[in-house]
């Protein structure tokens, strides 16, 4: 009996070839085992239990049809083939569309039905698929998905690779890298599931399940790979549907379902691999030799049974002698100034993926590159606002006040506050002046029933200048008393203290009569959250001193608590969790200080879509929870930060020059820059341009880079955009969603 086993890469993220070999050797001591590899850098070729090594050139050099024919000759000659590589398996399925009795890998139809992330074939198994979104959607939608899932998301490649992306700029960087490596834009974002990882490994021949085991990972490498595990039987509730599914797929070969079990014991399916996992020999040690069962099922030749084991296995690092016929190749020279070099994919799997795209065995490659995903949508008011401008008369770069969009945004917020208010608790909006101190927006806030929230005395004075009354002002932040001597003489609505010294100073100012405020409160920082603001509650000492400090507040002022956190950074669900966490701490403060909380000031950087487009049921429920937890709260001040300002301004710019390659614009320089779009790295902006017919259209992702006018390396205002054909110098582009911190934090640079 001669068995070919491929996938001998044995680095930190190993392929299963060595494990399969060891298991086959146990089951068939006399079989001739031939290791198949596509790189002499894959250390598994030196595994001593291999009788022979069939070393091929890396996938980018290989003549695929000749290799296919050679394999056919081997199989026809009676040899068996077990693949340890997903991509090789996919390629073999295309070479042998009708299968081959000696080819122990799944067929193309079965492979199509286990494509991740949806893994169609999972229907019937007691598992769920974690939420996901393909990356061919617009950046606007992808950013929304990340916010929805609290930035606990994985960006995954179509065949291999998964990277946690915790922010927009890291997502963009990883997307660029993975798309380049695998030559496809068909990546996907998937929500993270917290839990313990476990797998079911199986083998089947022509649809008949021959054996399976469950393995729980007990030690995990930094890359998330199994280092130790325990092996047990698969329960009937899993086994019955699995047997049916494998029959429907007419599955041949090994396979693995990778899952996570959450704290509520629910199973989440991450992927189904069309091959044995690298830990396959761990199960053999535990007494279940699936590679041998597979060979036995295919040939009818009885395998030697493994000794029953203890059910646990672990890995160790083992040095083996190098085979004399395959001496170690030289280490490649370091690229200029580089350190070390990577052994990732030494056999050129990305090159195989690219070739399979070209052969249409797999989707992806050059034929997809023109897609660039969906174009994002914009509200009608934004288009109306742009149509109202005469861009021929506007000197660029220029901020465009989106008048009807701004009016609509404030109107909605006012309506929401009205709807959410109850007899017991009034919900009041507050406008955060720092998000955009433009007088038009401050006036709009005043006219829409907002209060004004400032982080400095200068900001409060700006609000007074626009027409706010002192009793409509809220002061907070770490430097709120700056500049000196500008505390309003009249009573303001509320002051929130950011630290213990700030609380002391505020109490002194109240006692001396320098400050008059209806409400004095504290900004709290709940534990477990990285923030520089507010009084930290993460140690019993700071909590105790807070409790004691609150006792020093004058009895004739009301007491309030301020809780702000940027929802756009931590995510929407996380924000509401923190809200509940804040309520819990408020209850403790009330109980321990004897002071009742009358005002809650909640908010902090919401993404406009999350704030304005929801049905407000989350907020309505939160008001109820606040009332239940803190019955004396008469006012909830809602301050959604940039959610108000961000949509209200756009940045218009002109193209200064374009560069083309093969008839496509690869680069364009514009007269705006990151000095006007400092938030470019943090979230996607919707970019519009007017077509020849005068209609405003949003631009899709594409291959062009928009370079800012600054002579600065990082001044790239859009790294991947599709400019319309015929774009030329003088054309106007408008970046929407720039009315928040883009506007208020923009700086003067390169203007002499």
């Amino acid at each position: 009996m001669k068995i070919y086993v491929s996938g001998l890469y044995s680095g930190g993220n190993p392929q299963p070839g060595v494990g399969i070999t060891r298991s086959l050797r146990q089951g068939y001591p006399d079989a001739t085992l031939v290791g198949v590899e596509y790189s002499n850098r894959s250390s598994g070729i030196h595994w001593p239990e291999l009788d022979e090594v069939w070393l091929q050139r890396p996938w980018d050099e290989l003549n695929l049809s000749a290799h296919g024919e050679a394999i056919r000759a081997l199989l026809d000659g009676g040899a068996l083939w077990i693949s340890g590589s997903d991509l090789e398996t996919m390629w073999l399925a295309s070479v042998f569309p009708e299968g081959h009795a000696n080819l122990l890998t799944p067929n193309a139809a079965a492979l199509a039905r286990i494509t991740k992330p949806q893994v169609e074939a999972h229907e019937g198994l007691p598992v769920q698929i974690p939420p996901y979104i393909p990356t061919d959607r617009s950046d606007w939608d992808l950013h929304a998905f990340c916010r929805k899932h609290d930035w606990r998301v994985w960006l995954k490649g179509p065949y291999y690779d998964a990277v946690r992306t915790r922010s927009w700029d890291s997502f963009e960087a990883v997307r660029t890298t993975l798309a380049k490596v695998w030559n496809t834009e068909r990546l996907f974002l998937q929500a993270h599931v917290t839990g313990y990882e476990e797998s079911v490994m199986l083998c089947a021949y022509e649809g008949e399940l021959l054996g399976c085991v469950r393995m729980r990972k007990r030690e995990i490498t930094e890359e998330g790979k199994t280092w130790a595990g325990d092996v047990s039987e698969v329960d009937e509730a899993f086994l019955t549907p699995l047997r049916r599914i494998l029959r429907e797929l007419n599955w041949t070969g090994g396979g693995e379902l990778e899952m996570v079990r959450d704290a509520d014991h629910r199973l989440w399916l991450l992927e189904m691999n069309p091959r044995f996992p690298a830990w396959v020999h761990g199960a053999t040690i535990a007494g279940v030799n699936l590679p041998a069962l597979l060979v036995e099922g295919a040939t009818g030749v009885a395998a030697q049974r493994p000794e029953p084991g203890r059910g646990e296995f672990t890995r160790v690092v083992v040095e083996v002698p190098v085979r004399s016929e395959f001496p170690l190749p030289p280490l490649p020279e370091h690229l200029g100034g580089g350190t070390g070099h990577s052994l990732k994919h030494p056999s050129g799997l990305p090159a195989l993926a690219e070739r399979l795209h070209k052969l249409n065995v797999l989707d992806g490659g050059d034929n997809e590159t023109s897609s660039g995903g969906d174009a994002p949508t914009v509200p009608n008011t934004m288009v109306e606002d742009l149509l109202a401008q005469d861009f021929n008369r506007i000197e660029t770069p220029a901020w465009v006040f989106m008048e009807s969009t701004a009016a609509d945004t404030f109107k909605r917020a006012a309506a929401m506050a009205h709807t959410l208010s109850t007899n017991q608790t009034r919900v009041t909006n507050a406008y955060s002046i720092k998000t955009n101190p433009d007088a038009r927006l401050i006036k709009l806030a005043l006219d829409s029933g907002f209060m004004a929230e400032g982080i400095s005395l200068l900001e409060l004075h700006k609000a007074l200048e626009v027409g706010f009354r002192p009793d409509q002002l809220i002061l907070n932040g770490p430097g709120k008393w700056w500049p000196e001597g500008m505390i309003p003489k009249e009573q303001i609505h509320a002051v929130f203290c950011d630290s213990a010294p700030d609380l002391k100073k505020t109490v002194a100012a109240l006692n001396s009569g320098e400050l008059k405020a209806k409400i004095v409160g504290v900004r709290i920082r709940t534990p477990h959250i990285p923030s520089r603001f507010g009084i930290a509650l993460d140690t019993p000492e700071t909590f105790k001193s807070l409790v004691e400090s609150i006792a020093t507040l004058p009895e004739d002022t009301g007491f309030g608590v301020h809780f702000h956190m940027a929802s756009s950074n931590i995510g929407v669900k996380a924000w509401w969790r923190l809200f509940d966490s804040m309520l819990r701490w408020c209850q403790s403060l009330e109980r321990l200080t004897g002071r009742t909380i009358e005002v809650l000031d909640i908010g902090g950087g919401w993404f406009p879509d999350d704030w304005h487009s929801v049905d407000h049921s989350d907020f309505a429920k939160a008001v109820k929870r606040a009332q239940a937890a803190l019955p004396n709260v008469g006012q909830i001040i809602s301050e959604p930060g940039k959610a108000m300002a961000q949509p209200t301004m756009a940045l218009a710019m002109r193209v200064l020059e374009t560069q083309e390659e093969d008839g496509e614009i690869t680069e364009a320089v514009v007269d705006a820059s990151i000095a006007e779009l400092p938030m470019y790295f943090h979230y996607p902006h919707r970019v519009l341009t007017q077509d020849r017919g005068g209609d405003w259209k949003t631009l899709k992702r594409g291959k062009s880079q928009l370079m800012g006018r600054l002579c600065m390396e990082h001044d790239v205002v859009a790294a991947n955009i599709e400019l319309p054909e015929g774009t030329r110098a003088g054309d106007v582009l408008v970046f929407c969603d720039a009315g928040g911190y883009d506007r208020s934090m923009s700086y003067v640079f390169g203007r002499g």
Binding site: T194, D230, S232, D262, A263, D264, R310, G311, T526, P527, H528, L537, D538, P540, E541, F543, K544, V547, K573, A574, R577, D580, S581, R584, W585, Q587, S588, R591, L592
Partner: protein, 216 residues
């Protein structure tokens, strides 16, 4: 009641449990509890523990073990008796304190939890070092007996009579599929004075009788 005090008490079995040689020594030990001064000092400390647990748990399921506790207060010698205001100020807490606090945390989450007493297998090597460590802090180490130790944790109800055993010092759930060896659980007693005897709980398919030692 607490470890340092009880270890000096005479062994007085109130019923006839399934006592193995290693459980005799600790049979009279009740599970540890944290004391309260009945004043603001302890009230603030206890509120901090409970509110902090709420924040640390986030959106995780209520059955998630409070691993933040041994992370903030690593396992180590603790003088007894211990009050809440003393517990929050310590750098290290022993298993009795971890158990007693975790017990309160689970209860505050609305999860039923009972104190669990463990006898665990280690090695003479391990226990000798622990003995030194406790000696340096001048805390008695009656929880050590040769190569086995007395340890405390929580028996947390999953559903009905199904429980999981939380090792509140290690920050993990004890694996019911374990067999003997280093670190293995040899014997467990789950305490519930209110339980109507005889009652059993199910732990990973094993039946454990309440209020008596069960050999694992």
């Amino acid at each position: 009641m607490y470890l340092a005090e009880v270890e000096t008490r005479a062994v007085q079995a109130t019923e006839v449990p399934e006592v193995t040689s290693c459980t005799v020594k600790w049979d009279s030990w009740p599970a540890s509890t944290i004391s309260h001064h009945g004043q603001a000092c302890c009230e603030i400390a206890r509120e901090w523990m409970l509110a902090n647990d709420f924040s640390q748990l986030g959106d995780a399921a209520a059955l998630t073990g409070p691993r933040w506790l041994p992370k903030k207060y690593p396992w180590g010698p603790s003088p007894w008796p211990m009050h809440w205001c003393e517990a929050v100020g310590r750098k290290k807490l022993d298993c009795g304190a971890h158990q007693a606090i975790s017990q309160e945390l689970f209860t505050a989450r609305g999860v039923q939890s009972r104190p669990a007493q463990f006898v665990q297998q280690f090695s003479e090597e391990a226990t000798r070092h622990w003995g030194h460590k406790w000696g340096e802090d001048q805390v008695p180490a009656g929880w050590i007996d040769g190569d086995v130790i007395y340890h405390e944790g929580c028996a947390v109800t999953v559903e009905g009579d199904e429980i999981k055993l939380w090792d509140a010092s290690a920050g993990w759930w004890i694996d019911p599929q374990q067999s003997g060896g280093y670190g293995a659980l040899l014997s467990v007693r789950i305490l519930d004075p209110s339980a109507e005897a005889p009652q059993t709980l199910s732990w990973g398919g094993r039946q454990l009788a309440l209020n008596r030692w069960n050999t694992v």
